[in-house]
């Protein structure tokens, strides 16, 4: 049974928000087209009145296996966690942090003491009110078991509950990105009692109790997870922030996340209305884009497609000159055109984050990214000691077909310069192990480009894999944490970006735009991953 409600977003506000987001992006991208103002996305502008009720079925590629967001960093788990739980702060569609469970907060003058006042009307799905104790227990566990938490732990002096609704976090050294880090996946606030003594293996189904707009109804492992509206949910008031921030209206009665691993089944199911939202691989973009019964839209963020040279002494690429020669030898445009799926979902830039990650997007070093000069490359290879007929070893994976495709194109491009390229494709886990155990020259990877603290970003911290890194980069990472203003932080980001293109820990090919295909019945969808509060199904 569905009823019409009038409390949806007023259309005019929606329009303003889209325009504002566009303006933000315009200023950030130096005049390029805003990627999120997309003509196919339905957005909220002309979606009509929200309809309460119904079930939305969403296809996910695999079972999350654990709903403990603190220890499970996989994409599916993160997406489910976004709907089930909330954090002190959450990010909007431009990756900017806004208060979520926090009502108000102050930072001391020495930037060492953060005092968070929690909202007083928040309850967990099991009826318990949110208290400072829950926050302390969750963040203590975060420092112990979560990657971001572990990274920050050395800087944290203490986290204490001052009273029922006040938490005081004390640092031993100022940390500029702390609020952003508290808005990162894994820093969700759980019920203290339910996470007591839960280790790195994560809690079981009973622990999946949060403060989000939907609660866990059922979970058939390997098949489907059903979330149902949490009727006691008290929404924040800020409309139209997008992403995970601001007001959340649970229009749908239930959201069913169905596990569909096979790409053909995924698409066929959308076409026959078995499910209403999918995120397929890039090679299906054109097909679905041209299907009149499907809406296709690009989403926030982007995956960085990278070629990784091995900085270890066993490889020729320990020599910076050889790495720059490799960069000059790679025809990135040709590789992107052949493997990206469609120009609309390939952003050709060399930044170490996606374009809409506005705090970190920088065009420094773009001349190095754009340079392509095989002749000069050959000359530099020769100077670095690579002779014609020498063999380079690419270790890659066929788990992600594009990796193998890049490797083959690279083999071709380097082959034309007279070098032998040996390609060794493995399944992904084997590949990661081979990279640790054996000698190699080049590998292929992609990274999430929508993270919000430099220490989380693989291009800056890939040392454990390819022996990259330098005292200069370490210093810049420290400088960023010590920054006191947005301008200062941005200046450090520019320096980091320039250094990435000087040291070449990775060679960025492009940033792949994530995209979704969904039923025209799905309205109010914000083009933000698998977030479906504020969405409804048209009658």
């Amino acid at each position: 049974m569905r009823t019409r409600l009038n409390k949806g977003r007023p259309p005019a506000t929606g329009l303003v928000a889209v325009a504002a987001a566009g303006a933000l992006l315009l200023s950030a991208c130096g005049g390029d087209q805003p990627s999120s103002a997309n003509p196919d996305g339905d957005g909220s502008v002309d979606a009509g009145e929200p309809v309460v009720g119904g079930n939305l079925t969403v296809a996910i590629p695999s079972d999350p296996q654990s709903l403990d967001a603190a220890v499970n960093p996989t994409q599916v788990a993160v997406h489910l966690a976004n709907t089930l739980y909330e954090k002190l702060f959450d990010v909007d569609e431009d990756n900017q942090a806004h208060p979520m469970l926090v009502d108000d907060y102050t930072i001391s003058d020495d930037r060492l003491t953060y005092t968070f006042t929690l909202r007083d009307d928040v309850t967990f799905h099991d009826g318990h009110p949110l208290t400072a104790e829950d926050v302390v227990a969750s963040l203590e566990r975060w420092q112990e078991f979560n990657r971001t938490g572990q990274m920050i732990a050395p800087d944290i002096e203490s986290i204490e509950a001052v009273d029922e609704l006040t938490v005081e976090l004390t640092l031993n050294t100022p940390r500029y990105p702390l609020i952003d880090e508290l808005a990162s996946p894994g820093s969700e606030i759980f019920r203290a009692e339910l996470i007591e003594d839960v280790g790195a293996e994560g809690f079981e189904q009973e622990g999946a109790v949060g403060t989000g707009p939907y609660q866990l109804k059922s979970w058939e492992v390997g098949q489907e997870i059903v979330l149902e509206r949490f009727d006691e949910y008290k929404s924040r008031s800020e409309e139209d922030l997008g992403g995970l921030a601001g007001a959340k209206h649970a229009y749908l009665d239930t959201i069913t996340f169905t596990v569909v691993g096979d790409q053909d089944a995924l698409i066929n199911g959308l076409l026959t209305d078995q499910w209403q939202h999918i995120m397929p691989t890039p090679d299906h973009y054109e097909q679905l884009k041209n299907d009149p019964n499907v809406v296709v839209s690009t989403l926030s963020g982007g995956d960085l497609n990278v070629i990784v040279p091995n900085h270890d002494e066993s490889s020729i690429f320990s020599d910076k000159q050889a790495r720059h020669a490799l960069n000059l030898a790679i025809d990135k445009q040709a590789i992107n055109a052949a493997t990206g799926g469609s120009p609309e979902i390939v952003e050709e830039h060399g930044a170490f984050v996606s374009k809409d990650n506005v705090d970190f997007y920088s065009t420094e070093g773009s001349e190095v990214y754009e340079a392509y000069d095989p002749e000069k490359a050959k000359q530099m290879f020769t100077e670095a000691g690579l002779e014609e007929g020498d063999t380079l070893r690419i270790v890659t994976s066929n788990t992600f077909p594009q990796f193998n495709q890049w490797a083959v194109l690279l083999q071709d491009q380097l082959g034309e310069l007279g070098y032998n390229v040996q390609i060794d494709p493995y399944d992904f886990t084997t590949m990661l192990d081979i990279l640790q155990e054996e000698e190699w020259d080049i590998t292929t990877l992609f990274f999430n480009g929508f993270l919000n603290s430099p220490q989380q970003m693989p291009p800056l911290t890939l040392g454990a894999m390819n022996s990259s890194g330098s005292p200069e980069m370490d210093q810049l990472l420290a400088d960023y944490n010590a920054a006191t203003s947005e301008e200062e932080a941005k200046a450090v980001v520019d320096e980091m970006q320039a250094l990435v293109w000087e040291e070449l820990p990775v060679i960025v090919l492009s940033s792949a735009k994530p995209w979704a295909a969904y039923s025209p019945k799905l309205k109010g969808y914000d083009d933000y991953w698998r977030v479906f509060w504020n969405s409804w199904l048209e009658e």
Binding site: P73, G222, Q223, G261, Y426, D427, T429, D433, T461, M465
Partner: protein, 314 residues
């Protein structure tokens, strides 16, 4: 009979020990372990070491093996790393769909094979018999995945009679379950019934030349009675082995069908476990399938004894 059972039980222990040990060694020889699979591309060495310790993967190989063996002997297959649950529980959650598919498709295929063969034995020259005769090899030759895609294209995407994929338990919603089972079962039935029909036909043809049939006919039995009462029971013996082995193969090997039709069965579970290097789960599933093979073979042997007095005597 007791002797047979005891011998089989002894064989079972040996087989499980060999399979288990080989699996234990093979998956550890392959590069990559659960810690690498979980922590991904940018894992720090200390993180890897911590996780390996938490997962009990830091000891020497023989220590890990003895620990595992100690568990298995007490019937405990360990905890799945990715599913956060005992291996037996995880197998229990996934065996339902696979068993449903295997049982239904085997039963239907068997009935089809018997019906077709009976018809063929009674009316060998009828056009239908000839048609079936010609098309059975085709049924075996068509690859499963191709047949699946064609059936989906026709019945799900074009006619919209059936869902393109999915699985519902027969016990929770029988109507929806039947709908979702039609296409995968049809694919399996096409290949299996062809195999069973060809085997059974050979066997029936052999039986038809036997002298005792002349006696039956002289007694005044009709040709249908001859086939149903005398030929079929005798001709069924060889096909039981085929049905049994095939059933066990289905349990462990319908990965492709499960993947195309998004059925959360044992095959897809095993595939997922291999990708994530979930050692306890891989070992558990292989042991389970080995156990099933032996059990099915034992059942087939026992059924021989029931059907054929000669086996009992010998």
């Amino acid at each position: 009979m007791t002797g047979l059972l005891l011998r089989r039980f002894r064989d079972l222990i040996i087989i499980l020990l060999v399979v288990g040990t080989m699996m234990f060694l093979i998956i550890r020889l392959v590069p990559g372990d659960p810690a690498v699979a979980i922590l991904g591309a940018n894992a720090q060495p200390q993180e890897l070491a911590n996780l390996r310790q938490a997962l009990g993967l830091d000891g020497a190989l023989y220590e890990q093996y003895l620990a595992w063996l100690g568990q298995v002997v007490t019937g405990n297959l360990g905890e799945s790393i990715t599913h956060n649950a005992p291996v037996l529980t995880v197998i229990g959650q996934h065996i339902g769909p696979t068993l449903t598919l295997a049982v239904i498709s085997t039963a239907i295929s068997f009935c089809i094979a018997v019906a077709i063969t009976t018809w063929y034995a009674v009316r060998p020259r009828s056009p239908l018999a000839r048609l079936v005769n010609q098309s059975a090899p085709l049924g075996m030759a068509i690859p499963d995945f191709w047949m699946s895609l064609i059936l989906i294209l026709v019945f799900a995407l074009t006619l919209r009679w059936l869902p393109t994929s999915g699985y519902t338990s027969l016990f929770s919603d029988p109507a929806a379950a039947v709908q979702s089972l039609v296409l995968p079962v049809a694919v399996l039935v096409i290949a299996q019934s062809a195999l069973f029909t060809l085997t059974l036909r050979e066997s029936v043809l052999g039986e038809l030349t036997q002298m005792y049939l002349r006696t039956a006919r002289i007694k005044g039995l009709t040709e249908t009675q001859v086939v149903l009462r005398h030929v079929l029971p005798n001709a069924l013996m060889p096909i039981l082995t085929i049905v049994g082995t095939n059933f066990a193969v289905l349990i462990g090997g319908i990965v492709i069908i499960e993947s195309i039709f998004v059925i959360p069965g044992l095959g897809s579970l095993l595939l997922g476990a291999i990708h994530t290097r979930d050692f306890p789960l891989i070992q558990g599933i292989t042991l389970f399938i080995a156990l099933l093979f032996v059990a099915v073979n034992l059942l087939v042997d026992l059924s021989y004894a029931l059907i054929d007095p000669k086996v009992r005597v010998s």
